[in-house]
Every structure is written in structure tokens, then in C-alpha cells.
């Protein structure tokens, strides 16, 4: 036996094992503490710090004291702080690399506590990492937009000069095109006038007639010759007169058409005034959605924050698996290999907290909560995550109850629901609208509200019913306040209770908020007359400004038509000359002068 066994070796083995045990006993606490801080800091992007840590073997568990998680967006503030965290692990499962915690206690959770030192992480690499994490948390542009559109309308009468500077007038378009047409027609008619028989032509005809009149005709052939010449002359005069007549008639039609277009332009001018009035005046319809502008942005902020927190918590309830079956062709990192999973007889997730009891310390008092079955592998456990937080008789809050189920057992049919019921929440000095148009604060109110939210197939559906009583608003008066604003402010002073209901629908990144409140009715009632009066003033101002702007183009158009009228007069004059000549010719043939011998 002695030939094969080296008893000193056994001693050495025991010594080595004892060294490892001692190492564990004395140093493991510090190592695990540093590991938690290191991995936590990397994951959050800002310092995660632990006051103390105690690792116990019997029973296997951890006790953490003073856990601080810095808010990566504001490094002098903790996102949350927990006084004491303790839990025990199932040792056999832990040896199987499964963290199964039967019960976890989180005592003294506080949010937004002040830090004594900055929680920013030093070093370029770490900063980059932190930036990456924060970038991830940034609100997508699509999410920002619903809040952006809820701006308050302006209650002031808009400046008409600015309006006319930016707006296109339809009447201006019509008159400009008319002016161009008048100019073209004027040029055309001036050219046509040259082609029409003129005074000289008619003088020529007169000379020929006189010549025929004064000539002594002897013999039949001479008489017949004169008659034929007379007939030709008459035909020519008639042809010229017809030509002038046609031109006269055409010109008359065209002038009439141009004049009617001037009428259209004047009508368009009126339309422009009405259109701009509608666009720039605050309509009673605009007042109907005033509450959406006042409360919408605040509600939007809440929905955004809820969305961000949901995305942050999602990895806790749903793990994204890589395709594990197909290991062929995978080139793993050197000496790492790939892990192949096999069926477990009693399947358990890799990470599970069966029950977590939490005590949240708010300024108002303590809220206790219970979260059950926290695991990213709900499909393996077959149970959804359930939570309930309750608080009663708190300072400035009668009761609060938040409960819900995050069901990701079947990933394709995941459904998350949450209900929040708040009773007797005392609101003090909350700014509802910081906009210059209508700065408004809620001095005091007692609120009861109920929110139901469901997220299914990536689509959110949420209902908010809230009732505010013992209400006192505060709106900042100003000397230059418009009549509408004054009317709204006076209506607010008489409101002692109101309701706000909202429906949120869409996806987490692109949702729509439909908000209604009985405040709108009160606003409309009080501000309707002021809105109408303001609209009339704006209409008057617009009329004056548009008329002044259109005056010159209209004058130019009128003068252009005046130019065509002159052409018409010239044509009339020529027509008279022709007609006179024709009359003269008739006298020659019927009454005296040239008489036929038969």
C-alpha cells in the first residue's frame, strides 16, 4: 500500500482545500461585492455601490446593505436606493448553475435620493459604455411627437402683416394672370388695328365715289361701266365695314370677359379674407380641445416614462434566446465551446425569484409590495409575473393600489396588464402649463384616479378616469392679456371640481392620446363671445390689409382694360366712317347723281 500511496499528498490536498476554504471565508464577501458593483455599473452605465455584503453558506444566501444605483442621466442622484436586501438560494440548484431564490426581502426602497459623491464613471471606455446605455434609454423621436403637438393655441389677435407676408393670396394669383392677359390682348388688338381699314382707306373710297358722281356719262357703255364700278366699290366698302364690325364685336366680348374676371378676383379677395380668418382665429372648436393641450403633455410624459421603464424591465420578464439547437457551423471563442441543453425532468428557469417582498419609502409614507415569480423564462416556469403594491392612510394620499400581471408564458401571446387606483391624492402647486400663451398651475386639488393599461401584441390600450375636487387653479394675469385669456381665467376661478378622462392607444413608440375633460365645456361657455369678437376684429383687419395689398394690381388691371376701350373707340370711329360712306353711296344710287337711263 505504502508503495502506491503518498500520505503526505493527502495532507497537501487537505491543506490546499483548507487554503481555498479560508480564502472563501475571508475574501469572498469582498470579491462578490466588487463583482456586483462592477457588473451593475456596466449594466446601468453609472455607479452601482454597495455598503456591505455578507455571503452565507448555511443557508446559502446574501445580505446586502445600502445598495445605491445612480441615475445615469443625473449622476448626483440615485435612481433608487435600498437599505437592505436579503435572500437565500436553493443550494442544489445553485450548483446546477440556477439561481432560485425562494424569498427576497427589499427593505427601505427610496427613489431619487441625493448622492454625496458623483455616480459618474471615470475612464473613456466606461464613459462610452455609459453613453451607449443612455442612448438606448433615449426616447425615440416617434415617442416625442405626441407630446410635441399638444401646444396651447395663442389667444392674441395675430398680426395681419405677418400673416400676409407668409400666406399666398388666391386673389393675387388671379389678378396677376389677368394683368398678363390684358397686356397680351392689348398688344394683339393694337396689331389688329393696323390691319383694319382706316380713315385713309375710307377717304380713298370717298374720292372714288365723288369721282363717279362728278363724271359725265355718255353712251350706254360708259353708263354701264360706271354702274359696275359703283357696285364693286359698294362691295368693297361693305366688306371693310363687316371686317370692322367683326373686330368690334370680338373686342367687346373680350373686354366683357376681362371685366368679369376682375369681378372674380374681387370675389377671391373676399374668400382670402375669410380663409385667413378661419385659419388664424381661435375657433370654439380649438377651445374644445384646450384641456388636451393643458393635461396632454403631462400625461404624455407619464406614458413615455412608463414605456422607458417597461423597456428597462423587459429583460427581467423575457429573455431573448439565441437559436440553440443548431450548433453546427458555430465557431465558438477559443477554449469556450458551446453549451448544449438537454431536457430537464423538473424544468426550472436559470433565474427565479419566487417571492419578493418590498417596502418602498416615499415622502408620503410606506408602500408595501409583493412580486411573485420573477424570471426571464416564464415559458419554462409556466407562470406569469404578478405584482401588487399597496399603501393606506399616507400623508396626502388616502390609498394607493397598483397591481398587475406580466404574462409572457407564451411569448407570441404575451399580455401585460396593470391597474392603478389612487384615492384622495392631495395635489399641491403643480404647473399644468408653462406655455406663455396660458401659464396655469393647480394650487390645490384632491384627486381620485383609476388607470387600466394593457399591452398586447406590442399594442397599448389604456384608460384613465380621474376626478378632481376641492380644486383651486392659479393662472398668471398679465396687463396685455387677451379677452379670451381673461375670460378663461375668470371661468377657472369658479371651477371647484372637474374630471379628466383619457384613452391611450397605439404602440409604445407611437401612441395616440385621446383626452376629454368637462373643463372644455366651461372654457367654451366663458370664452365663446370673446372668441367671436376677436374673430370679427381679425376679419376687419384682414379686409383692410388685403384691400390695401390688392389695390395697386386692381388699378393696373382697370387701366389695362381702359387701354382696350380706346382701341374699341377707334374701331367704332372707323365703323361710323364706313357706315357714313355707305349711306352716302346709297344716296347716290337712289336719290340723285348717277341715274340709270332705264
Amino acid at each position: 500500500m505504502k508503495k502506491f500511496i503518498r500520505w503526505q499528498g493527502l495532507t497537501a490536498f487537505v491543506i490546499v482545500a483548507a487554503v481555498f476554504g479560508g480564502f472563501w471565508f475571508f475574501l469572498a464577501d469582498g470579491i462578490v461585492k466588487r463583482l456586483i458593483e462592477k457588473y451593475g455599473t456596466n449594466a446601468i452605465g453609472a455607479k452601482v455601490e454597495l455598503g456591505a455584503l455578507d455571503l452565507t453558506l448555511f443557508p446559502a444566501g446574501l445580505d446586502l446593505e445600502q445598495l445605491q444605483v445612480t441615475n445615469p442621466d443625473s449622476t448626483m442622484i440615485n435612481a433608487f436606493e435600498v437599505n437592505h436586501v436579503s435572500f437565500t438560494l436553493e443550494p442544489l440548484n445553485f450548483l446546477r448553475r440556477k439561481v432560485i431564490i425562494n424569498e427576497m426581502t427589499l427593505d427601505g426602497i427610496r427613489f431619487g435620493t441625493q448622492r454625496q459623491t458623483s455616480g459618474a464613471i471615470k475612464g473613456k471606455k466606461k464613459l462610452k459604455k455609459a453613453k451607449k446605455v443612455r442612448e438606448k434609454d433615449k426616447i425615440p423621436t416617434a415617442v416625442k411627437s405626441p407630446c410635441g403637438i399638444m401646444s396651447l393655441p395663442s389667444f392674441k389677435i395675430p398680426d395681419v402683416k405677418k400673416i400676409l407676408h407668409t400666406e399666398q393670396l388666391q386673389s393675387m394669383g388671379i389678378i396677376n394672370s389677368l394683368q398678363k392677359d390684358i397686356q397680351e390682348k392689348k398688344t394683339k388688338w393694337e396689331a389688329s388695328l393696323k390691319n383694319l381699314p382706316d380713315e385713309k382707306q375710307f377717304e380713298d373710297y370717298r374720292d372714288r365715289i365723288n369721282k363717279l358722281k362728278s363724271g359725265k356719262k355718255k353712251g350706254i357703255s360708259s353708263i354701264l361701266g360706271s354702274a359696275s364700278e359703283l357696285s364693286t366699290l359698294k362691295k368693297n366698302i361693305m366688306r371693310d365695314i363687316n371686317k370692322i364690325k367683326n373686330a368690334h364685336s370680338n373686342l367687346k366680348d373680350e373686354v366683357a370677359s376681362l371685366k368679369s374676371r376682375i369681378g372674380e378676383a374681387k370675389e377671391a379677395q373676399l374668400h382670402d379674407v375669410m380663409r385667413l380668418k378661419q385659419k388664424y382665429t381661435l375657433s370654439p372648436r380649438g377651445l374644445k380641445h384646450l384641456s388636451k393641450s393643458i393635461f396632454g403633455s403631462r400625461l404624455c410624459e407619464i406614458v413615455q416614462k412608463a414605456g422607458i421603464w417597461y423597456e428597462k424591465l423587459k429583460p427581467v420578464i423575457e429573455k431573448s434566446y439565441k437559436k440553440e439547437k443548431d450548433h453546427e457551423g458555430i465557431k465558438p471563442p477559443r477554449s469556450k465551446g458551446v453549451n448544449v441543453r438537454f431536457k430537464e425532468y423538473k424544468p426550472l428557469p436559470d433565474f427565479l425569484i419566487r417571492k419578493a417582498k418590498a417596502r418602498v419609502n416615499l415622502n408620503a409614507g410606506e408602500i408595501t409590495g409583493l412580486i411573485q415569480d420573477i424570471t426571464p423564462d416564464q415559458g419554462i416556469l409556466g407562470l406569469p409575473l404578478k405584482f401588487r403594491f399597496k399603501g393606506d392612510k399616507l400623508k396626502g394620499l388616502e390609498s394607493i393600489d397598483l397591481h398587475g400581471i406580466l404574462n409572457h408564458v407564451l411569448k407570441a401571446q404575451s399580455k401585460d396588464t396593470a391597474t392603478l387606483t389612487v384615492k384622495g391624492y392631495e395635489i399641491k402647486n403643480i404647473t399644468l402649463s408653462g406655455a406663455d400663451a396660458f401659464p396655469l398651475a393647480l394650487n390645490h386639488a384632491l384627486a381620485d384616479l383609476e388607470i387600466d393599461a394593457t399591452l398586447k401584441d406590442e399594442k397599448i390600450k389604456s384608460n384613465l378616469i380621474s376626478e378632481f375636487h376641492s380644486v383651486s387653479f392659479h393662472a398668471w394675469p398679465s396687463e396685455k392679456a387677451s379677452t379670451i385669456k381673461t375670460a378663461l381665467m375668470s371661468s377657472l376661478s369658479s371651477i371647484s371640481r372637474f374630471t379628466v378622462n383619457a384613452k391611450v392607444s397605439g404602440t409604445l413608440s407611437n401612441y395616440n392620446i385621446d383626452l376629454t375633460s368637462d373643463l372644455d365645456r366651461a372654457f367654451m361657455k366663458s370664452a365663446n363671445r370673446a372668441v367671436e369678437k376677436q374673430a370679427l376684429t381679425l376679419e376687419k383687419n384682414l379686409k383692410m390689409a388685403v384691400t390695401a395689398k390688392m389695390d395697386d394690381p386692381f388699378r393696373k388691371a382697370d387701366s389695362g382694360i381702359g387701354g382696350l376701350d380706346l382701341v374699341g373707340k377707334e374701331i367704332s370711329k372707323r365703323l361710323n366712317l364706313g357706315n357714313g360712306l355707305l349711306g352716302n353711296l346709297k344716296g347716290t344710287t337712289s336719290k340723285g347723281g348717277l341715274k340709270l337711263p332705264f
Partner: protein, 173 residues
């Protein structure tokens, strides 16, 4: 490098039983080839300490096989993946997967099972081959080498001085 060769020669030329040397080599093969932080390596270290094997041979073998393991890594991964994905063995793996001790062994990792399989398969052949090799070396080569002219020259070399230095420093391990 010279020290390493000298150490090897010293181990081979020592009075130790060839079985002690080859067993140390074979155990070093398991430790060197498989990932160090594996459960079975505690057993290997225990055996190395408790059995009368040559510790020098074990350390030398560990260094050698660790280097070899790095080169053969892709081969171990391939073997491991083949074994773990084999339908015939699926029942065995599933049973082992449900036993805590084997789960701690992390046998379901392709490199762990591939390298362990490789080293266990080679354990006996390597043991007998090395054993035979050492015996033959001592019986024939060593006697013949010492008589050769080259060895006589070599005895005057730096390598021999190093070898002698080591021989004087430590006895058999």
C-alpha cells in the same frame, strides 16, 4: 528550454519506476487537455498528490499538454459537439444533465466533453506506450548513448552542466 530538456532527461534517467512517470504523464494529459476549472480536475489533482507518481513528470506533462490543448481546441469542440448531438447518446446525456454532480462538471459543454473524451480514450494507450518507451530507453538507449562519442562530447557541454545541476539539486520526486 535547456532546463526543460534537462528536466525531462533527469526524469527519464531517474531511479523512479516507469509506471510512476507514465501515470503522472497521463494524469497531466487530462489536466492539461481539459479546461482547468472542471470538476474532474479536483479528482486528478487528488490522485496526483495521493498516488506515488512523479511530480516532475506531472508538471512537465501538464505544461506540454496545455500547449497541445490550445492547438487541438477546434478538434475537441468538433468531437464534443458530435457526442452531445448524437441521438444514440441523447438518453445518457439527458440523465446526466439531471444529476447535479454532472451539471457541475459542465459535461454539456462541447470543449469539456470533447477534451475529456479524447484524454480518457488516450489514457491507457499512452500509459502503456510511455511505459514501454521508458523501459526501452533505459535498457537500450541510455546504456548505448553513454558509450557513444557524442555523449562523451556532450558531457563537456553546457546542457550537461545544467542537467547535472538539476540532478544535484533534487532527488527523485
Amino acid at each position: 528550454m535547456l532546463r526543460l530538456i534537462a528536466k525531462l532527461l533527469k526524469v527519464l534517467n531517474s531511479e523512479s519506476d516507469p509506471g510512476q512517470i507514465t501515470l503522472a504523464f497521463c494524469l497531466a494529459m487530462i489536466l492539461g487537455i481539459t479546461p482547468f476549472y472542471s470538476l474532474h480536475n479536483i479528482l486528478v489533482l487528488f490522485l496526483v498528490l495521493i498516488l506515488r507518481v512523479s511530480l516532475s513528470a506531472f508538471i512537465l506533462g501538464w505544461a506540454f499538454f496545455s500547449g497541445l490543448a490550445y492547438l487541438l481546441d477546434p478538434l475537441f469542440h468538433g468531437i464534443g459537439l458530435y457526442l452531445l448531438n448524437s441521438n444514440a447518446l441523447n438518453g445518457l446525456w439527458t440523465s446526466l444533465y439531471n444529476i447535479t454532480l454532472f451539471r457541475m462538471e459542465k459535461f454539456y459543454n462541447s470543449i469539456v466533453i470533447g477534451s475529456l473524451f479524447f484524454s480518457i480514450i488516450l489514457f491507457l494507450p499512452v500509459y502503456f506506450l510511455f511505459n514501454m518507451g521508458i523501459r526501452r530507453y533505459r535498457d537500450h538507449v541510455l546504456t548505448w548513448v553513454e558509450k557513444t562519442h557524442v555523449m562523451k562530447v556532450l558531457k563537456t557541454s553546457k546542457l550537461y552542466r545544467v542537467y547535472q545541476g538539476i540532478s544535484t539539486l533534487g532527488g527523485t520526486s
